[in-house]
Amino acid sequence: MITGQRVLRNLYRDSVSLMQLSDEIQSMEGISQASAIMASENNISLLVDSGLLADKIPPSPNDLLVVVEGEDQNAVEAALEAVDALLSKRADDEEGGEVESFQPRSIPMGIEKMAGANLALISTPGVYAAAEALKAMHMGLHVMMFSDNVSHEDEVMLKRYSDEHNLLFMGPDCGTAIVNGIPLGFANVVSRGNIGVVAASGTGLQQVTSLIDRWGGGISQALGTGGHDLSAKVGGVTMKQGIRALAEDPDTKVIVLISKPPSPSVMEGVLKEAEKAGKPVIINFIGADPESINGKNLFGVPTLEAAAEAAVSFTNSTEKNIRNAVLHEAYLGLVDQIAVKLQPSQKYIRGLFSGGTFCFEALHLLGQKLGAFFSNIPINPEWKLVNVWQSQENTAIDLGDDLFTQGRPHPMIDFRLRNERLLQEARDPQTAIILLDIVLGFGSNMDPASEIVPAIKQAQKIAEISGRKIAFIASVCGTDKDPQNLSAQEKALADAGVILTESNAQAALLSAMVIKKIGG
């Protein structure tokens, strides 16, 4: 290996920029390590000790030192030459280009540049988000708030204001919506149609809209409510706004509601609003008993896939299908095939989810079939993991939880943490099944299969060395119109030996049947 360095005098960049610079250089061809670091005496000593600097250089703590390790001299020189370009590129991105491409820096400037805009998407640190949202609403804009860490009091205030002024407020912590056919945040490209969705769950919305598309239906509007909307404090304001909007929308024939079970008082209000819609309303309160939902135009369903199927069947005006939470016939044959390959020590499922709702739905289905299922978001407090970094018996983890995402991208984008955990589970002789969700669409990783397949193959090798075979069961949430190419993703996963099901629910049910088969 060859090393090289450059010192950039009196160059100031914030910590995140320096990290990004290091990552970009490290990803260049032929480069194994790179660091952009202040040239303090202690850093220089450490670089020499770790072999990244051949000799000590005079310390200059206000200067930036870029050190690179690569396969050969050419690679190292190319990387060091690229530093200036990367630093300039970063500065240029901030300053903008010609007058025609200037970036607006406030909401009034944005409206001036885009006449007719009627929705503001707010993505600022939480402490500033409420003020920005109010400004937007003062100017007559609807709001989608991606930001989280907004206080409940602010959320109540904002939603009250939006109601009083007949504006739609999606959020806070709303990461997914499809408005007038345009995916916003993390969302899939789906066909337009006559099914409207209101969801207090990002991946729940993605699953339902993707399946609707797959089964020949289409989406009129898909609205997110944010994570706390259905709490007692907030009262389901946005969900009710969404129901009213879809009820009045002539292009919407069927409405789907998705959420975790709301508080009883909120549920009552939401169901009352749904009854007034005058259209069929299909309701999946994940984990709740669908039979508890009663009303002339209300239909409770047990799973996200059931919601999608019911919605499509209602719009087709054919036999109205409401599916139970059972494993499809098409997958029944797989149960024995998987079970027969497992060793006696292999007893447990390890679910590694990037979507919180996928994890939650799986926990309910798996819990119903298998009993105790440990998690960082357990459905029973007694099943809370003692240490989220270590699985216990049957375990399913929501890797999108704050615990795992501080200072790093969401697992739908960055697969490193999930891959590491996957290998950890593979080393555990008790792991029978690794259960996964792969989420496509805008905002997600542009090639999830290429990120996870190497880890799956390595995991399979680890298991094989000990004479074990681990079953990888997954569902891919997406459509053939998504930028990642659904069929290519599914093929790559299947070629790596992953057993794919059409939905998250089916993946969970298949896993449960296998474990029951082996006596779990």
């Binding site: 490290q26 310390p59 703590p61």
Partner: protein
């Protein structure tokens, strides 16, 4: 190239908050460094450092947060630029730009003034914060990069050494180990500096609680002041502010929450807010802080721990 904020026009900017009341007076200064969201300047005569920061950033010690929504800081400031402040109105040389400081709210970033109901730190709350940090630690150092691994081990080694020496009231040895942390690590405020900043906050807190730490604090802080030359200007500024008792509002809010035994959701939010600073800065500061707050009382005279 022409921009939205055309430089021939007059631009008026108000300060949203001031990390110090001193800045309302009359002074002249020179801009030292210009970032996307922060401008550092040095006040003539006193040599004190302060900064204008974007409204997007949380309050920081001695920093003045501006309502910069209509402008780009980089377009209006440059290194070496003169600033002229007359009774709270700052004028920039060459630019037609006025910054009004007098309406800014003074943010209480001074640690000794933090609001607290309890007299002592809540152990339960400390454990909860540590739990959040344990879960975050792996992600920063889980890469296969050998330099990162070595950095992590080195930071841990000196952190543990300093705490062990402070427990024994062996300030000289603690200072020698602190010398190894200065400027060590990645980022504009290297991890070693942030850990030291956490130590400094912790030592301030323990002396507030009446533990016999006063002499040790004075000795240790005096020594750290002489070490700060080993790191860059920006980090140096924050370390010196810390020694004077000034910290970011996010950190002070967390400490207050721990003192006031707030519920877990609140402490978790405030912990996450601190950990959102920079890349690993927040986490490193908490590492230093938690290490000190975890120390039991000690007997300075006997030079051995009273407990544990």
């Amino acid at each position: 190239m022409p921009r939205y904020a055309i430089k021939d026009e007059t631009m008026e900017i108000t300060a949203l908050s001031l990390g110090t009341p001193i800045i309302r007076k009359t002074f002249t200064a020179k801009v030292v460094s210009v970032f996307d969201h922060a401008i550092n300047f040095k006040i003539d005569g006193t040599g004190e450092m302060a900064a204008f920061i974007s409204h997007l950033l949380p309050d920081q010690p001695r920093d003045i947060r501006l309502d910069d929504r209509e402008i780009s800081l980089r377009e209006w400031f440059y290194p070496g630029q003169r600033l002229d402040c007359d009774q709270g109105i700052v004028r920039l040389s060459i630019r037609n730009c006025y910054i009004y400081l007098n309406h800014g709210v003074i943010t209480d970033c001074y640690l000794p003034d933090l609001p607290r109901n309890g007299e002592s730190i809540s152990d339960t709350c400390l454990s909860f914060v540590r739990l959040q940090m344990d879960k975050a630690e792996t992600k920063y150092y889980c890469k296969a990069n050998s330099f990162d691994r070595q950095l992590h081990l080195t930071l841990k080694k000196y952190t543990n050494e300093i705490v062990a020496f402070l427990k024994l009231a062996d300030v000289d040895s603690a200072v020698q180990s602190s010398r190894k942390l200065i400027g060590l690590g990645k980022g504009l405020t290297p991890s070693g500096d942030d850990i030291l900043l956490g130590f400094i906050a912790g030592i301030h807190i323990l002396s507030l609680s009446g533990i016999e730490f006063i002499d040790l604090k004075a000795q240790y802080f005096k020594a750290i002041e002489h070490l700060v030359g080993g790191t860059g200007l920006i980090s140096r500024k924050y370390l010196l502010h810390a020694i004077s008792g000034y910290f970011s509002k996010a950190l002070i809010d967390l400490i207050a929450a721990i003192y006031n035994i707030e519920e877990e959701t609140i402490i978790r939010q405030k912990t996450i807010r601190v950990m959102q600073s920079g890349h690993t800065s927040g986490f490193d500061i908490l590492t230093g802080l938690m290490a000190i707050l975890g120390m039991e009382t000690l007997s300075v005279q006997e030079k051995q721990p009273v407990l544990g």
